[in-house]
C-alpha cells in the first residue's frame, strides 16, 4: 500500500508531506475512515498500556512466594514461572534422570532443524528419521528399562516435554495416515471408500475429549484379558487418529484441486496406481494443501492441552496446578501463568504458520508453478 504512494511522489519532495500523503490515503481518506481510525486509536490506547503496565512495568520480577506478589498495584508475578521451571520443562520426571529428557529435546531439535532448514540435503531421510526413528528413540530413552536406564513410568512425563512429544509424534504419525485415508476416500474400490468415509466422519463428528475418555478408560475393556497398552500410548493413538481424519480432508481438498489430466497423463505413460499416486499426484496435491496441512498441525499442538482431562500433566496443566499451590495461589499469579502459557503456545503455533508461509513462497511457489492455483 505504502509503496505506490511513494513512487507517485515527485523525487524532490521532502519527507514530511510523504508521511502526510500516506496518512491521508490509509487512515483519513473519508469521514467513515477517519472515524474508524479514531476509534481504533482509542481502543489501542485503552487496552495496550494497561496490559503492558501489568505484564512489565508493575510486574514483580523477584521473590520467593505468594507474599511477594500480592498487594495493591502489583502486576504479573514472574518469579512464579521461575520457581516452576523444572516442572514446566520436565513434568514430574525423576530429577536425577532429567539428562535423558535433555537428550530427547536435543535430538528432536536437531531432527526438526534438518527437516526445516531448506538448504540441508537428505530431506527424505530426515523425514523418515523423524517419523519412525525419533518416536522410538524418544520412547526408549524416556521410559528406560534397557541399557541400565531406570524405568520412568509415563505418568511422570509432563510439562512441555509431554506437550511437544505428543505434538511431534502425533504430527509424524497422523500425516501418513491422513494421506492414506484421503486416498482411500477417493479410491475406486467401494468398500475401501466406505470404510474411510465412516472412519473420517465418525472421528470428525465426536468431541476429542469424549474420544480421549474412551481411550483412557474404555479401550482396555476391548483388549484381551491380561494385555495392556500404556495409557499415554493410547492417548497418542487417539490424538493421531483424530488429527489424521482432519488431515485426510485437507489432503482430499488438494487432490480434488489437481486437474484430472495429471493422473491421466501418468496413466498414459504406463504408470500404475501407486506410481501415479506417489510420483505424480501426491507431490502436487500436498503442495497445494500445504497451508492447510500446517494448520492441522497447529490444531494438533493446541489439542494436546486436552489430555489434561484424562489425568496427564501437560504444559498447561502443570501451570494450572501450580496456581493451586497455596505457596503461590493468588489471582495475579494465575493470570501470570496463563499469560506465560499463551505466549509459549503462541510462539510455537505462530512460528509454525510463519514457516509454512515461508515454505510456500520459496519451495512450493518457486519450483512448481502448476502447484499453485
Amino acid at each position: 500500500m505504502a509503496k505506490p504512494a511513494a513512487h507517485r511522489a515527485p523525487p524532490d519532495r521532502p519527507f514530511g508531506p510523504l508521511v502526510f500523503d500516506w496518512l491521508r490515503e490509509n487512515l483519513f481518506s473519508s469521514v467513515t475512515n477517519t472515524l474508524l481510525t479514531v476509534l481504533a486509536i482509542a481502543f489501542i490506547y485503552a487496552v495496550v498500556p494497561p496490559i503492558l503496565d501489568w505484564a512489565v512495568f508493575s510486574a514483580v520480577w523477584s521473590g520467593t512466594g505468594r507474599a511477594d506478589c500480592i498487594g495493591e498495584g502489583k502486576g504479573a508475578c514472574w518469579p512464579f514461572i521461575v520457581a516452576r521451571k523444572d516442572q514446566i520443562i520436565y513434568g514430574q520426571y525423576f530429577a536425577d534422570q532429567r539428562w535423558r529428557v535433555d537428550v530427547v529435546y536435543l535430538a528432536g531439535a536437531l531432527g526438526l532443524a534438518w527437516i526445516l532448514i531448506p538448504r540441508l540435503p537428505g530431506k527424505l531421510w530426515a523425514g523418515i528419521g523423524m517419523a519412525i526413528l525419533f518416536p522410538v528413540f524418544a520412547f526408549v530413552m524416556l521410559s528406560g528399562g534397557v541399557f541400565d536406564l531406570p524405568v520412568v513410568p509415563t505418568e511422570r512425563w509432563g510439562g512441555l516435554l509431554l506437550t511437544l512429544l505428543i505434538s511431534v509424534v502425533g504430527i509424524a504419525v497422523s500425516f501418513p495416515i491422513g494421506v492414506l485415508l484421503a486416498l482411500g476416500r477417493r479410491s475406486s474400490l467401494p468398500v475401501i471408500r466406505m470404510l474411510c468415509v465412516c472412519f473420517i466422519e465418525f472421528v470428525r463428528g465426536v468431541p476429542l475429549i469424549t474420544l480421549l475418555f474412551m481411550a483412557a478408560n474404555v479401550v482396555p475393556l476391548f483388549m484381551p484379558q491380561g494385555v495392556s497398552l500404556d495409557k499415554l500410548l493410547r492417548a497418542l493413538i487417539v490424538i493421531s487418529l483424530f488429527s489424521a481424519a482432519y488431515m485426510a480432508e485437507v489432503v482430499r481438498g488438494g487432490l480434488q484441486a489437481l486437474p484430472r489430466g495429471q493422473s491421466e497423463a501418468a496413466a498414459a505413460l504406463g504408470l500404475g496406481y501407486w506410481q501415479t499416486t506417489l510420483l505424480v499426484v501426491l507431490p502436487q496435491a500436498l503442495k497445494i494443501s500445504l497451508p492447510s496441512i500446517v494448520s492441522s498441525c497447529i490444531s494438533l499442538l493446541k489439542d494436546t492441552s486436552l489430555i489434561a482431562t484424562i489425568g496427564f500433566f501437560d504444559f498447561l496443566q502443570v501451570i494450572k496446578s501450580g496456581n493451586a499451590d497455596p505457596a503461590w495461589s493468588a489471582p495475579n499469579v494465575a493470570f501470570t501463568g496463563y499469560l506465560f502459557a499463551a505466549l509459549v503456545y503462541w510462539t510455537l503455533c505462530f512460528g509454525m504458520s510463519r514457516y509454512s508461509a515461508y515454505l510456500e513462497r520459496t519451495v512450493a511457489g518457486g519450483k512448481v508453478g502448476a502447484g499453485r492455483l
Binding site: 474400490l189 465426536v206 475429549i209 469424549t210 501407486w274 489434561a308
Partner: protein, 398 residues
C-alpha cells in the same frame, strides 16, 4: 504390504497371472480389508462382553429410566434430582444446543466483522484485525476458556453488592439475573401471532423483490417485516388481556430468587467460543472475499455503489459460495468444542450425561455410545442444513 504387492503387480506383464488382473485384485484387497475390520470389531466386542460378564456389571438401557438423584445448576426445562437419567440427558443436550446456537450466531457476526476489517482500506483497522486473528487462533481454546472464567468472577461484584439496572436486572458473580416471562393461559396466541408475523414478513420480502424486478423500485420490505414482527405479538398481547407477566429477581438470603439467571460459566464459555471461532471465520470470510474476482467489485463501483453496497450486494453473495463449506466445518468445531464446558463446570451434555450420569450408573459403554451418536446426529444435521443453504444460494446465482 498390500501397497508393495500392488506396485509389483502393476509393473508385471499384463494377463499372466490372476493377481495381475486389477479388477480381481481390487475385489480381493477389499475383501481382506473388510474381513480384517469385521474381525477387529468382533474381537473387541467379544473381549468387552467377556470382561463385563466376568465383573457382573449392569448392562442394558434400563438405567436411563432410573432416578438420577443429582441436581443440575443450569437448566432450560424443569428438572429435579428426582427425575430420571434420560431427563438429565435432555437437560444437558439442551444446554449444549443453547451454547452452540448462541456461539454460532455470535461467532458468525464477529467473524464477518473481522474478515471485512482485515480487508479494510484503513491501515490501522486491517492491522488490528490481523493481530486479533494471529493472536487468538494460536492459543488453545481451553486456555481461553480458563482465562475468561478466571477473569470474569473477580470482576463481578458479590451478591450483596450486586450491580443493578433499575432494580430489574442484577449483575453479580452468581450470574446475570433478568426478569423471566411468566406464561399463563392465552399466551399461546402471542406465539401464534409471532409465527404468523414471520411468515408474513417473509412473504413481504418476496413480494418486494418481485416489485423490484418489475418496476426497479423496491418497497421497504425490511421496515414492513420489522413492523409485523414487533406489532403483531404486541397486538396479540393486549387482545388476549396481557396473559404474560414478568417475574422479577429479588434478593433472598444468599442469592437472587426468581427471574432468569445467566451463569458466569455460560458467559465465559460463550465468550471464549465466540472469540476463538470468530478468528477462524474471519480468515474464511477474508479468503472468500478475496476469491471473488476484482472485476466484480470494480464493475459495482462503476455503477456508483458505495463500499458497503458493493460488499453487501455484489461481493459477499458471491463469496458465500466459497465461504459456506469451511464455515460449516467451523460450526461443527464450535459444537464439539462446547464440550470443554466441563472444564469450568457448565453442565453441558458431556459434563452432565457422559460425566455425572456415567459415574453414578457406571454404564460407560452405553452412555458413551449415546453421547457419540448425539454429537454425530447434531453434526450431520448441521452440515445437512448448511448444504441446503449452499444449494439455495447456488441456485439463485445461476
Amino acid at each position: 504390504m498390500s501397497g508393495r504387492d500392488d506396485a509389483a503387480a502393476a509393473i508385471a506383464p499384463p494377463a499372466t497371472a490372476f493377481w495381475a488382473d486389477p479388477r480381481l485384485r481390487g475385489v480381493l484387497f477389499q475383501a481382506v480389508a473388510l474381513a480384517l475390520v469385521v474381525c477387529l470389531f468382533w474381537t473387541m466386542a467379544s473381549n468387552a462382553g467377556e470382561a463385563l460378564k466376568r465383573s457382573g456389571q449392569a448392562t442394558g438401557w434400563g438405567f436411563l429410566w432410573n432416578t438420577a438423584g443429582f441436581d443440575i445448576g443450569f437448566k432450560l426445562v424443569a428438572y429435579t434430582a428426582r427425575d430420571r437419567h434420560i431427563d438429565a440427558l435432555v437437560v444437558g443436550l439442551l444446554n449444549t444446543l443453547l451454547i452452540s446456537g448462541l456461539g454460532i450466531v455470535l461467532a458468525t457476526v464477529l467473524g464477518f466483522v473481522i474478515g471485512i476489517a482485515r480487508l479494510s482500506p484503513n491501515w490501522l483497522v486491517s492491522r488490528m484485525a490481523t493481530a486479533y486473528v494471529e493472536f487468538v487462533r494460536n492459543v488453545p481454546l481451553l486456555l481461553w476458556i480458563l482465562f475468561f472464567y478466571l477473569a470474569l468472577i473477580p470482576v463481578l461484584p458479590p451478591v450483596k453488592q450486586a450491580m443493578s439496572l433499575g432494580d430489574v436486572v442484577f449483575l453479580t458473580n452468581r450470574g446475570l439475573y433478568v426478569p423471566k416471562l411468566h406464561w399463563t393461559d392465552g399466551a399461546i396466541w402471542i406465539v401464534v401471532a409471532f409465527v404468523a408475523a414471520i411468515v408474513l414478513a417473509a412473504a413481504a420480502t418476496i413480494w418486494s423483490r418481485r416489485r423490484q424486478k418489475a418496476t426497479g423500485h423496491r418497497p421497504p420490505d425490511l421496515l414492513i417485516g420489522l413492523a409485523l414482527i414487533v406489532g403483531l405479538p404486541v397486538a396479540a398481547f393486549f387482545a388476549t388481556g396481557a396473559p404474560v407477566s414478568l417475574e422479577f429477581p429479588e434478593l433472598k438470603g444468599f442469592n437472587f430468587n426468581g427471574g432468569l439467571s445467566i451463569l458466569p460459566e455460560l458467559v465465559a464459555l460463550l465468550f471464549a467460543l465466540t472469540i476463538y471461532t470468530a478468528a477462524y471465520i474471519g480468515e474464511i470470510v477474508r479468503s472468500g472475499i478475496e476469491g471473488v474476482s476484482k472485476g466484480q467489485s470494480e464493475a459495482a463501483s462503476a455503477l456508483g455503489l458505495t463500499r458497503g453496497q458493493r460488499l453487501r450486494l455484489v461481493v459477499i453473495p458471491q463469496a458465500m459460495r466459497i465461504i459456506i463449506p469451511p464455515l460449516t466445518s467451523q460450526y461443527l468445531n464450535l459444537i464439539k468444542n462446547s464440550s470443554l464446558a466441563a472444564a469450568i463446570a457448565f453442565p453441558d451434555l458431556v459434563h452432565v450425561f457422559a460425566g455425572t450420569s456415567l459415574t453414578q450408573t457406571g454404564q460407560a459403554l452405553e452412555i458413551l455410545a449415546i453421547t457419540a451418536s448425539i454429537y454425530l446426529a447434531i453434526s450431520l444435521a448441521t452440515s445437512g442444513l448448511m448444504n441446503v443453504y449452499n444449494a439455495m444460494t447456488r441456485l439463485k446465482e445461476r
